[in-house]
Amino acid sequence: MNVVNDLRKTIKKLLAEKKIDLFVGWEKGSLPMAATPIFITNEDEADRIVFDITCGNNLSVYFTKDKKQFADKKVGIAVKGCDARSVVLNILEKQIDRANVVMVGVPCHGVLDKKKVLAKTDGREVLELIDGGDTVTLKGNGYELSSDRSEILSSSCLSCIYPDAQEYDIFVGEPRGEVPNENRLKEIKEFEAMSTSEKWASTRAEYEKCIRCYACRNVCPSCYCNVCFVDQNDPAWIGNTCDFTDSMVFHIIRNLHVAGRCVECGACERACPMDINLLLLNRKVAMEVKDRFGDVAGLDINGKPAMVDFREDEKQDFIMG
């Protein structure tokens, strides 16, 4: 609760001192499992700000969406570790001017994944959720249960090593520091251990669910092309029907487009109405980028996104002998 109070105070101060025109944060949503983005321009509204397990949205998406509603404004933004990396990435890519953004870091202990919560409650509707830190209490019609926080966290949080903003102007609360996470790559390694056919069967089962609503693309702060390659019609690269190969190619190419730019915030996976485990591929790509090029997206504000950079002596084991 202290974090939330400090955050509110910080926002009020920033607004009062005219350091920012607007603050982007989260407020309590209309559903117990979802906080919702809020844009604050006057101090009174700051009391609506919350920060807890439900604050999953990566707010830096609002810097880059087509409306560019923050253009020419000084914007304060609440950032978790991953959100901060998104902001940094957007700064590196000249989408945001560092001077126009005030990053307020918040200590993140992970955000929830709705589908994991619903698995806990056997699909029963959750009417109230109390974030008690290590345990989270879920209440609904005729039941109340508590869950270990780790059991309902988004897969992105379970593999997270940078829960704090690495780049910030103000940090509210205690930074958690880097989290050594030995099991971080477990899921990927397990997947890699399968045979090619098994991998394909598994991929196919996941991606066949895609209905092409593009929620994954639209909530992604790294996806901000004016015209997305799937929307181009001359040439039309990809069919728009729910043909599986079209959907698969869309997701492969989207993954490559965010290679070295994906901060693994998991917004895409949480936004997916079909519960596709989108992040697995993103994380695999991020792993390759880290292994091969030593780069982690959005970590270094003086860096360069991996895919526009190169070194001459890179490993090229994949080139035919």
């Binding site: 090619t196 591929l281 895919m307 080139i319 035919m320």
Partner: protein
């Protein structure tokens, strides 16, 4: 019906690999007739989308070839391309596309023989895999 023959798309850079293919031709080197060549200015021009699109439209294999590192006509095009391929190839393998379907090589203008070897190798690799099915779009 005649025996199935692999159909392979070869995307070659203009300055090295395409010239290498030319050399292989004028030197009358033998290599399998299974490739269809698309010439691009530089391997850096190759959007991974081209590769996916080829697989989707029924090619059994894709070969992308450019200048050796350091020899790019545009100084650094193939370095940037290398990063793309370095990510694309493991990703395709990860999702379960057979590793040998999509291959990359560096072939210089003087390496006619190498061109013949590379084409022979990918043709045999793809022949072993059989017809591509996984990403092929059926109409």
């Amino acid at each position: 019906m005649s025996e199935w023959q692999p159909k392979i798309l070869a995307i070659l850079c203009n300055w090295c690999s395409y010239a290498g293919a030319d050399l292989a031709g004028v030197s009358r080197m033998q290599y399998p007739p299974n490739i269809r060549v698309v010439r691009v200015p530089c391997s850096g021009r190759v959007d991974p989308l081209f590769i996916m699109k080829s697989l989707q439209s029924g090619f059994d294999g894709v070969l992308v070839s450019g200048c050796h590192p350091g020899d790019c006509h545009y100084i650094s095009g193939n370095y940037v391309a290398r990063r793309k391929f370095a990510v694309l190839k493991p990703l395709l393998e990860f999702i379960g596309i057979e590793p040998n379907r999509v291959q990359f090589s560096w072939i210089s203008a003087g390496e006619g023989e190498r061109f013949a070897t590379v084409v022979t190798k990918i043709t045999e690799d793809v022949r072993k895999l059989g017809p591509s099915t996984r990403l092929v779009k059926k109409l």
